[in-house]
Subunit: 150 residues, 2 copies
DNA sequence: TGCTATGTAGGAATCATTCCTGTCTAGCGA
DNA sequence: TCGCTAGACAGGAATGATTCCTACATAGCA
């Protein structure tokens, strides 16, 4: 989704996040893609516009945005953290070959819950569903290529 | 589950895993607990019996057992990897306060699938469901304690 | 416009995990 | 039973994503 500075400013204000050039660029890049980039992917993207930006600022900004609820972290095994600018409830479909992450929007999955017998007294706040497999272009080489670490 | 050396030997043979003192100890420790220990937890446990064992051997053995399908890796955010000696299909309930991981056995969850429209051509091989919340003993401090990184 | 709490850049530190290398040994065949 | 050899082990070094530290800069408010 394309966001202009107005939208970003409004969202940041609503979530009590101070607006800086760096943060706006990082957040915009994240919301405009559906590729669930890593911190380093984002660093590469935003330094095209702002070459002086520190990799550290990307990490710090992502933690600020995450705490504010504007961004989510998506973890795939022990690869580096991936980030998601879409904070509406949804799940993911992950390719074991190339690591791409696709969104899955499904109301049934969103409504999953645990019976009280299974919850063992936990106060359950949320859940996450991941589907694993091989994308179309990875299916041919499926057996030849060593899958990413899980 | 308690395993004797006979059982371990049989399983290793069936999965083409060479039997060593170190591997038997690591695998036994993992199957005998339901706590989903980290590599370092296992290192601490097995070095009580075999003080000369290298931390490296624990990592290497876990990767061998994982590739053989005798062990699974369970990842919680970016904390260190946790391991599961129970390879039957099941899911997990994770405490955001103390990090404990409990098993969830539920046939309905095991049968989840994606409609072909959602699968986008993926060859879907499996899925994983995690429930997140606070365990009984963490519920009191819920608001006071900063949750583990997710 | 000036103040101050916060953010940024850049470098150093961390630490779980992986890599390397020189012994050692499980498992097999003679 | 004995030796051979592919594969496993110990220990230390290296890696690399992430976090920590600190001096300088600036957003946002009075
Ligand atoms: Mn997503
Ligand atoms: Mn389990
Ligand atoms: Zn793929
Ligand atoms: Zn807990």
């Amino acid at each position: 989704m394309k966001l202009d500075l107005q939208d970003i400013e409004a969202r940041f204000r609503r979530h009590d996040v101070r607006l800086t050039r760096q943060r706006a660029a990082i957040y915009a890049a994240l919301v405009e893609t559906t590729s669930h980039p890593s911190a380093d992917d984002l660093y590469r993207i935003v330094t095209r516009q702002q070459p002086m930006m520190s990799r550290n600022t990307v990490y710090y900004t992502l933690s600020v945005l995450r705490n504010a609820g504007l961004v989510r972290e998506v973890n795939v095994g022990h690869d580096m953290a991936r980030y998601d600018g879409n904070v509406s409830m949804h799940h993911h479909l992950i390719c074991l070959g190339c690591g791409q992450i696709m969104d899955v929007m499904d109301e049934e999955l969103n409504r999953l819950h645990l019976s009280s017998g299974q919850a063992r007294g936990f106060d359950v706040l949320g859940h996450r569903v991941e589907f694993h497999g091989y994308c179309v272009s990875c299916q041919q080489v499926h057996r030849n290529v060593s899958p990413r670490r899980r």
